[in-house]
Symmetry: C2
């Protein structure tokens, strides 16, 4: 793997002086470039959690409870509104567009409109990790992080976003004052977009060269699912 | 240019039997492949329409009036809420997410948050063309088109969307019954996504080969602006 081209393409190098020294796992980033942590691998879903448990071994009771609370028909799957409600018990009420993005990224490969226990447990665990990162950077406990903190938080999640890309991201969360401020909901949305697109790109760039050849069809099929409808 | 590879990649060939014979401009599509009509080229904006007119020669009076009605401070630029209001007089009240997409695609290169008379006139004219296409396919005047009509309408706009891509698009507008139905607002959103992404891809694929090599940075910068925030 060629790492020099990754590390030279972004300014948030592990030694960047404005970053707290405890924010980075140097060893981890040295080998990841911009490509981030391995994606959570949802357990293969069973058709119902009654059948074979469904939840991965060691799933905490509150996660199982949150799922079962909303899966009233005990089908073993929940839809987006139910997911929104289930996450409220552990995190907060997320915007429906964040929920749709989470559904898409953690979806059951056999049913794109619902998720099962395995995916739910993976998603819950991922959000827990992201919540801890968010709180580490929300130093004044305002519930919001600014753009520099966002950059550091994404870096801590394993995504060293190049400056040109980061500028585009920040402009999307600009509140009109020229500054971006993100609450946890927006942070999850933003991070999931970065994670999702990076993972999709990585699938095509198997050699980790930092570029890949895409056909028009594959480009469109990669990108359109991220353009979520909210009706 | 190699056209065979485009035309073989989609099933909506000009001779497809289920399509009305008057829906296609055979000559036009033969040379366009999936790449569509030339984009409207907004006139270069002046800093104020008071300075040099701003509107392209021949702009209809109702277009000028719609713009001036909302540009109350006579700055020569309107923001997204004003655009929403201005389009209401000629078309309808579009969803803010469609407005944001239109702002992005027709934006003034010098000011990404506002558009001027030149861009407004180009946008108005483009919508007029799309409205005519929409109405042609909305045969029962229900105000909605289904997925097959959507495919034909996109084709009439010059976009022969490959089946794999079209399936992804339709799944996004599925109303839960397994069928997609789009009103004019959704049609504009959907069409602008297809147009915008195709135009971006075409910028990179200058040789019209149907594929292109993208760096991670350029891929992310191309795509993220389409992932509109709606707060």
């Amino acid at each position: 793997m060629e790492f020099s081209r990754y590390n030279s393409s972004h300014s948030s190098a592990p030694s960047a002086p404005e970053l707290p020294p405890d924010s980075y796992d140097h060893q981890q980033h040295q080998y990841q470039g911009y490509y981030g942590n391995p994606s959570p691998s949802p357990a293969r879903p069973s058709s119902s959690y009654g059948q074979s448990g469904g939840f991965p071994a060691g799933t905490q009771a509150d996660v199982v409870r949150a799922f079962q609370m909303v899966d009233r028909d005990r089908s073993g799957f929940i839809d987006e509104r139910e997911l929104q409600q289930a996450l409220s018990s552990g995190y907060q009420r997320f915007n429906l567009r964040t929920i749709k993005l989470l559904m898409f990224l953690f979806k059951n490969p056999y049913d794109s409109l619902r998720i099962g226990p395995g995916e739910f447990a993976a998603l819950w665990s991922c959000l827990g990790h992201w919540r801890a990162i968010f709180e580490r950077f929300d130093r004044d406990r305002s519930g919001r992080i600014d753009s520099m903190e966002l950059r550091d938080a994404l870096y801590s999640l394993g995504y060293a976003v190049p400056p040109s890309v980061f500028q585009v991201i920040v402009s999307k969360y600009d509140n009109g004052s020229g500054k971006a401020e993100l609450d946890f909901d927006s942070f999850v949305e933003c991070g999931m977009i970065v994670k999702g697109l990076t993972d999709k790109f990585k699938e095509k760039d198997k050699g980790y060269t930092g570029s890949t050849t895409l056909s028009y069809d594959s480009f469109m099929c990669m990108v359109i699912p991220f353009l979520v409808s909210y009706d």
